[in-house]
Every structure is written in C-alpha cells, then in structure tokens.
Amino acid sequence: MNRMENLYRQIIMEHYKNPRNKGLVDDERYNKSHIRNPSCGDDVTIQTLVEGGEVKDIRHEGSGCSICCSSASVLSALLKRRPVEEAQYISTQYVNMVSGQSYDTDVELEDAEAYQGVKQFPARIKCATIAWQAFEDTLGGDDDE
C-alpha cells in the first residue's frame, strides 16, 4: 500500500460517496454544533439527540474534503445508540489515534480504524477531527446556535 492508499482507504472513500445519516433534522430536541475551519473552509454541523443517557441519533451536514466529510459519516454510524459516556470515550480514542498519540487499542473503532493513516499527514489531522470535535461539543449540552 503506498502512502496515498494508506490515507485514502476504500472505506473512507465509500463513506464520502455514500454518507450515512446525512442531513439535519428540524427538531428542537437535538443539540447542534457547527464548526468551520477558517484556514481551509471545511464546514461541519453535527446534531445529536441524547435521551436517557444514550446517544439516540446523530445527523451531520457540511462541505469539505473527503477526509472531513467521510469522518462525519463514520462517526454517526459508529456512535449512534451508545451510552453518552461510551461515545465520548470512543471519540477521544479516535482523536488520539489520528493525532498520533497513545490510545486504547481495545476499543472497537470499526470503520474509523481506517483513519490510522492520517497521523502520517499532520496537515490533515484537523480534517479528520473536526466532525468529532463538533460531536463532543453537542454532548456538552449547550446549543451553540
């Protein structure tokens, strides 16, 4: 696998072309967070529905590069229907993985494993984490918009 194939794994491109849980909903029960990376224009909005300590639903919308958009889709598929604390924990492990820090390798990251290659591209770490940052913001309970 060359460097490009290592970054742009098939799973990533597949999520980019066929994103899961895409499109926001007009429902006040959802928490929303919008993050825009001013340097590159990546723009992601995440909506989560948290009920009874569980992440019941995750929606996303935005525009940006393949790494950024696909990771919003991967995130939504991976963290939906998880207890909030678990979702938070997994998110932290993912962010640590792509930024080259130590992380809990026992955690099942499923499709998100495919972002392993990102750590070799420091300029792209931001792209791979922006949706996750927005997701974590929605768990804070504050609606920023």
């Binding site: 490009m4 970054l7 742009y8 072309k17 590159c40 224009g41 990546d42 723009d43 393949s66």
Partner: protein, 402 residues
C-alpha cells in the same frame, strides 16, 4: 536574459532538488545573500539603532537607514515617505486607523471583493465605527475591476478608495493610476495593497499618485514580519500617529508630547533591524536580476502552465486571463485539500484554501481552490512536474470512485 537556470542554487530551500515550490504568493523563498546579511547583523554589529552613541550602534543605524533609502528607490518614493511596519497587514491597518477620524457618518468607502482580508476587514470595522458605507466595485464577468464599474460607484460621498493592485487569487492588475486620478478628483484618499505587485513588477508611487501603498518583505525574498507603508509626505505630516512609545516621540512631558518627523512618527519601539537590512539585500538582488526580466519570466511560465493545465481533462481554471504569475484552479469533483495531499506526496508545494480572500471565493461560488504562483526560481520543469502530479491525483481519485 533567461532565468531558467542557475537561480535555484541561490535558494537554500531548493537544495532539495526534488522540491517544486509553487506558493510564492503566500511567501517567497529566501536567498543565501539575504540570510547572510541578516546573520551578519547579529554576529557583527548587533546593537540598537538611533540610540547608542557607540560605534556598533552607529554601524547598525547606517545600514538600517540605507535600507530605507533602498526601499524608497525601489518604489520611487522619498525616504521620509517610507514607514517600516510589521508587514502589509499591519500597514493597511495603520492606514485605516490614520484616516478613521476623517470619516463622517454617511461617507462611502470603496473597496472590492478581490481584497485580501487585510485590506477589507479594517475598512469594514472603520465603516461600522464611523457609520460609513462600504461599497464594493462590481466585478466584471471574469472577476476584474473595470474602470467603468469604478466610475459607477464613485460619488461625492466617497472618502476612501481601498483597492488591491494585483489580486492574490485572480492575478489581475487593477487600473490603479486612472482610478487614483478619478478618486482624487472626487476628494477621496486612495490606499493600495501592493503586496502582490511590488515583488513582481516596477511600481512607481509617483506615477500611481496614490496616497498610501503597502507591501510585505517576505513575498519578495525578504524576511517575514516586515513590510512597508508608503504614505505621501503631506499625509504623514498631517495625520496622527497610531501607536505611541519610544522612537516616535520627540519631547515627552507629563501631559504632552511632540512627535518625531515622519517616518519615525509612525514607528514605535525597537524596530526589526536585521529584517530591514535583509530586505534591502533582497531588493538589491531582485534589482540585479531585473524586475521586468522576472516579470517576463513569470509570464512565460504562466502561459506555459495555462496551456498545459487547459489540456488536462477535469481542470477548471478561474483566471484564464491573469496578468500575474498566479493560476487559480480546481480539479473537478475533488476537494483541493485532497489534491494537495497527493501533490505534497510528490514534493510539490502549492496552496489549497481560500487564500485569505473569502469574498472572492464567494464571488467564484467555491469553498476553496488550488493556487499555483510563480517567481524567478521556478522553471518549466516545475510545471511539468505539477501536471504529472495532477494527473496522478486525478487518476487516483477516479479509481476511488470520485
């Protein structure tokens, strides 16, 4: 003279023979000569300027003052019209601050969607503060500022015209001399962002006749964090300083002060001495090569690149008729950041993003673009490499199903 050979050896970053550097519009490379000159300052006569009466300080001051003469000569200004700043952004902000007190409610400030953030946001701010109106010259269908469009927005209420000389995204040259003439006939001040023009062509402030003009050293082989504000002497005499402290002051008392004469009136604190000296060396170097020769060289490269890029399927070029060595484009269906990662993998440095000019991105209706920009150290070989790498990127993402 042909610049295609030998020049690369002058630039230490290009010791890496596989590197293709196509991001001069963001910042240029620095030649050995400039680095040596700056090093010499710290190694041989590191001392403050204007202050010490000992020999070292005197030597430093001499070189520092020479630098101002060199800049003045470059743009055909008088020495006391050349203010040293932290860069073009700093200089353009200073202009807005200097003129702010003269702007009344209902006055109009003409600017354009081609502006770099540093030339539009300060005026957006001043307009809010003073209750003035920000007016945008409508761009023509190619994104150019045309004289007629400017005439249409010029009015008796126009107080300031703040326009770029060359756009850092579209590479268009603004008809600034005629604009200045018209603006002056309406009693307006003219501020010119010359960050992309002075490095690449002969710019004569007397011929343009603008009131203010700004540029940065790092886009013309000099150091970062250093730049120039040119201001007409009568304005620098009349306007209040925007910063206060050491060096700008004449006599300080508890409740009054007198100012130094311009340009010192606008320079506060210990200046970037090595940077000034290094910048002068960069100007000497550029003048030895000849700014017009460099411009011709860039033009040939840009033509070559335009032709090659146009021949590539799936490439969209946004500024086919650019006047400067700047090509802004995209690969259809692939986000510029994804493209740039493949180029980077081939050791080609090129910018992807909005280039600190979000208004022109909005005008183009794109979130981001790729931008290749050329300087004296670029060659046809660089462009061939770029094309090969773009093909690789296109094929790679096609295979991935994009």
């Amino acid at each position: 003279m042909d610049l295609d050979f030998d020049i690369r050896a002058d630039f230490p970053v290009l010791d890496d023979e596989t590197l293709v550097y196509l991001d001069t519009a963001a910042t240029s490379l620095t030649p050995h000569r400039v680095l040596h000159k700056m090093n010499d300052y710290y190694r041989k006569y590191s001392a403050n300027v204007h202050r010490g009466v000992y020999r070292l300080s005197h030597e430093a001051t001499e070189l520092y003052n020479d630098a101002r003469r060199t800049v003045a000569r470059l743009i055909n200004a008088e020495e006391d019209e050349v203010v040293f700043t932290r860069g073009a952004s700093n200089a353009l902000n200073m202009v807005a601050r200097m003129l702010a007190p003269y702007i009344q409610e209902g006055d109009e400030i003409i600017t354009s969607e081609l502006e770099h953030h540093s030339h539009f946001l300060p005026w957006q701010r001043i307009a809010k503060e003073r209750g003035a109106k920000l007016i945008f010259v409508p761009l023509d269908q190619n994104g150019r500022i045309q004289l007629q469009a400017f005439k249409n927005v010029l009015s008796p209420r126009t107080r300031v015209v703040a326009l770029t000389h060359v756009s850092n995204v579209m590479g268009y040259l603004t008809p600034i001399e005629k604009i200045t003439e018209l603006a002056h006939a309406h009693g307006a001040y003219v501020s010119v962002d010359a960050a992309q023009s002075v490095p690449h062509m002969e710019v004569d402030v007397k011929r343009i006749d603008c009131d203010f003009l700004a540029f940065s050293a790092h886009k013309m082989l000099g150091p970062t964090g250093f730049g120039i504000l040119y201001g007409k002497r009568k304005h620098l005499d009349a306007f209040e300083p925007v910063e206060f402290g050491g060096d700008m002051v004449g006599i300080a008392e508890k409740d009054t002060l007198t100012y130094q004469k311009p340009p010192l009136k606008f320079e506060t604190g210990t200046p970037p001495i090595a940077e000034a000296i290094g910048f002068a060396e960069a100007i000497d170097y550029l003048e030895e090569k000849g700014l017009e020769t460099i411009r011709e060289h860039e033009k040939r490269l840009a033509e070559y690149a335009h032709k090659a890029l146009s021949g590539l399927e799936d490439v969209v070029i946004y500024n086919k008729d650019a006047d400067a060595g700047i090509i802004t484009f995209n690969l259809k269906g692939v986000h510029p950041h994804d493209v740039v990662t493949v180029l980077d993998d081939d050791n080609i440095a090129l910018r992807a993003g909005h280039h600190c000019a979000q208004l022109v991105m909005q005008w183009l209706s794109v979130a981001a673009t790729l931008r290749a920009s050329f300087y004296l150290y670029n060659t046809r070989d660089d462009i061939d490499r770029l094309i090969e790498s773009l093909k690789r990127a296109r094929d790679f993402f096609k295979d991935a199903g994009l």
